[in-house]
Symmetry: C2
Subunit: 547 residues, 2 copies
């Protein structure tokens, strides 16, 4: 039997678009002689559809696409993810399902049993778990069809779940495992995912076809990397990361006595982060129907790196960098920025904030009641810049990109409605130490980002001679404390025991927790870590814990 | 036996504060001769603690409070909600539990079985459901202890759940039901809640003590209204709405042959909404440690109503209303606002945006490339106002209140970083038609809000002679379509079939869906409906459904 694996970039709720995309891949697969073409999880409606799933109309549209796809299945069968309606009154209304379409009709529907409900996932909000496991016969093979999380409970050792779907399916003697996934990117996840596929293959002694989605849906990036593994654990095919692909193979290749020669791609931290963010930007614009980005270029590294990534995602001709110096800006800020713009070939403007800033200070002076210069005056500068960027964005139909990094976002080092403006935060999940490292990686062959931008001490330039290190510890210390708290959920005592100063730990954790109100209003941040701010990290605003 | 019911306003993660509050109520109960005092769901850590539950340190602090409370239980027993650790490796790490503390120690722990995972609730994200139900003997009574949602599956007819905890507990012949709740306010929920208590009482023929929390936690308001119901369904005690209370009663009153004389309080729509919002503001400020509010007073009804509610929550001396006229502002905008300020006795300032607005237009003119006046110029006005308000807020330590209503928030009729600024949205869950009705209710005895503000046609005053009705349908039509889509999750076809024009329905639903990116960045909105924007309504930004 020949199977085609289709790793596609779906658009949530865009049913016609998804149908056409699936149809085109069915045609490709047919031309390659495939008997079956395998798509990803919830391919028909896009993943994650979130509360659209609560609309009957949305489910009706999804069902209509399944009916149209069934008609395409007379010569080549189709295995595709979509929601299905729970026929019983009891339980949630829907299943997260895989439809096997063949000979013009729905031949079989499998449901997902393990419903992730943590971090960015809310599946138990919508779906009823499968309890009835069925192997399906197809062209002489016995298929064990599972969906994403279903294969992540090997030996029933994942404490979150009480059933192991593959253990159940094994009772019916399958000979081939197929998993439809929407498994999101984080910097360690590509490796973990390949290990899970291999562990399943080794445990059950069966080959696996693992079909992942690709493409970004707002902040969540699906990285692809779908894989075909023979029964010895050899990688027969590994589809590219961050790109669509359709690849056809013969199942004979899977039932071998000696593992296939390994075709695994390199998985290195900074290339992966780079490509994930570039795809994140590209899809945010493409799926919203925008082409052009605007952003503020301060002379600092965060905005420089963001500009590079935006140019790579959208093309330099579609990126407008705006330099907005104030009287606190150093000369090098403008010069360094101009050098970067020249290196990249993107558009730029210089608009001084001197005048509007002075106008505001004069206007507000009588209302400041003689109180000393403080964050109010600093924020006027940041908000004046935000206003200028948004005005240009509104006038010309651009999307403003936010340039905040994760360390700043964590401690609240940023101005709401100022530098926290934007439709999308590009590096909001990248700690400052990784901002440095990613920038150096970008410069590995030639100086894209002027080295001076990388090497000068970080500063917000909102008051004379300001440096980040005036109010924050060095970034290597800060980032380590933040990662222990945010990614690893360590408490203050545990972090202090790792050797950090008590007063510093207390202060940093307090800053993180009192900044929830800011993060509530910041743009979605492209997710590259296992714990990003936003939808996957849900904190009370009025809480008083560690503050 | 005498039982005291303690309906308290907890603070999430503020363990010492919650301990002291519980302790004070234990003292009160003791002085009233109580044998047992009953608190609410997750009282020890506050509800909803959200992802703080993922921190071991947070759970450790909660356990420490339980240990301290146990020591207070030598004379009077304590029944109190707190998380408990699941001792099994299998399943989620925690239970949502009720601790019965007596004679200085933990006498019994009951766990919640039905874990709401819809709308604002994420309980399955954190908690393992109870499967082992135990009635507890205490002073001659057999207590059936349940937690909140546990009593909302009468006759196992709620399709979300497969078990009915009270049916299970009935197998052990209890004689008294006690439910610890954190049941949030919405305008219909007080009535529904009382009906559920009564249905349980009637079904099982047992009296019920229903203990709810009170107080707002960011956007979610807990309204109290705890109730003691005799076995005939008569209300022995109904605690106040929106206030703390401790009330003691004798259990002899519960086992009567004829229902007690009804003590039910009136539950009317606008008084409830009014009180919920006032408490929402008060607790947001109090729990964050702020006293003073600032807001922009435009001359329109939304900001007028918000000012009234803020004055009632914080006192007029703590509210600063800022009038910021532009050349598009009508004279009556300023005069009406001044009249309102006078009626309320709050502070005010007048700051014209003329100058900064002109400065921006001049500065940006060369960059607007001769394109005609559009939303860019309108938004400059709104953002100039936002900047002024935030500058005053930062200088003086005030919180900015947002004045957007739900109809505007739904269709995206507002400027990000402009009038969408603020720490808290006061009426963001109140449709415009209810803004009118609530304002009229406030004016029922005397003219608090100048009638002219209520009666003039709504306008954003961002261009000459602008009216809301230029770009939106009349609010009674708009709000009905919005409620069908948002609250009732009706699709376009279903709404059209109700008699609305197809083009209008399509346009409105499209506006709602393309505004997700704005709502992602708007402040938390005090929740008064069964479906508010924010944490309880989770939509993709890059989706393309009905757009």
């Amino acid at each position: 039997m020949k199977i085609a694996l289709a790793q596609l970039n779906y658009h949530i709720g865009n049913f016609d678009y998804n149908y056409e995309k699936i149809k085109a891949s069915v045609e490709t697969a047919k031309s390659q002689g495939a008997d079956l073409v395998v798509f990803g999880e919830l391919a028909v409606c896009g993943y994650p559809p979130r509360d659209f799933l609560e609309f009957r109309d949305f489910i009706r549209q999804s069902k209509a696409v399944i009916a149209r796809l069934a008609k395409l299945s007379s010569e080549v069968a189709i295995l595709v993810g979509a929601p299905s309606v729970n026929p019983k009154a009891e339980g949630k209304d829907l299943f997260n399902s895989a439809y096997l379409l063949a000979e013009g009709k729905v031949k079989h529907v499998s449901h997902k049993a393990l419903l992730p409900t943590y971090d960015i996932f809310d599946e138990y909000r919508y779906f009823e778990p499968c309890t009835d496991f069925q192997v399906v016969e197809f062209k002489g093979h016995r298929l064990a069809i599972t969906i994403c999380e279903d294969i992540w409970n090997i030996g029933n050792e994942n404490p979150l779940y009480k059933v192991c779907p593959m253990d159940e399916l094994m009772k019916q003697q399958p000979d081939l495992m197929i998993n439809l996934s929407a498994s999101p990117f984080d910097v360690k996840h590509a490796e973990e995912r390949l290990n899970i596929v291999r562990e399943n293959v080794q445990r059950y002694g069966l080959p696996m076809i693992y079909s992942n989605n690709v493409g970004a849906q707002t902040e969540v990036v699906f990285d692809g990397g779908s894989v075909v593994m023979d029964k010895q654990g050899g990688i027969v095919e590994e589809l590219p990361y961050f790109e669509e692909a359709v690849r056809c193979f013969d199942t004979d290749q899977l039932f071998v006595e000696k593992a296939s020669e390994d075709k695994e791609q390199a998985k290195e931290k900074f290339p992966l982060i780079h490509d994930a963010i570039v795809l994140g930007i590209k899809d945010y614009f493409g799926k919203l129907g925008f082409k052009k980005a605007i952003l503020g270029l301060s002379g600092g590294l965060d905005s420089a790196l963001t500009t590079v990534l935006a140019c790579r995602a959208l093309g330099p001709e579609n990126v407008l960098a705006v330099l907005m110096p104030s009287k606190y800006s150093s000369d090098h800020s403008v010069n360094d920025s101009l050098e970067l713009v020249k290196n990249l070939g993107c558009q730029h403007k210089i608009i001084s904030i001197q005048e509007p800033n002075a106008t505001f200070l004069e206007l507000l002076n009588p209302h400041f009641e003689g109180k000393p210069f403080n964050v109010a005056e600093e924020n006027i500068q940041a908000r004046t810049r935000g206003l200028i960027l948004m005005a240009l964005s509104n006038k010309h139909g651009f999307i403003l990109l936010n340039t905040t990094n994760k360390s700043e976002a964590a401690v609240g080092y940023g101005t709401l409605y100022g530098d926290l403006c934007g439709g999308l935060s590009v590096i909001g999940d990248v700690y400052k130490t990784d901002v440095f490292a990613l920038s150096r990686w970008i410069n590995r062959d030639k100086e894209v980002i002027p080295v001076h931008i990388i090497e000068k001490p970080p500063s917000a330039e909102l008051r004379p001679d300001q440096k980040d290190s005036d109010s924050l510890p060095e970034y290597d210390v800060l980032d380590e404390i933040l990662a222990q708290y945010i990614e690893n959920r360590k408490g203050p005592q545990e972090i202090i025991e790792m050797g950090f100063e008590e007063a510093l730990v207390t202060r940093i954790l307090r800053l993180v927790n009192i900044s929830e109100y800011k993060r509530y209003q910041t743009p979605p941040m492209i997710r590259i870590s296992s714990k990003a701010f936003g939808v996957g990290r849900r904190m009370p605003i009025v809480g008083k814990y560690l503050t």
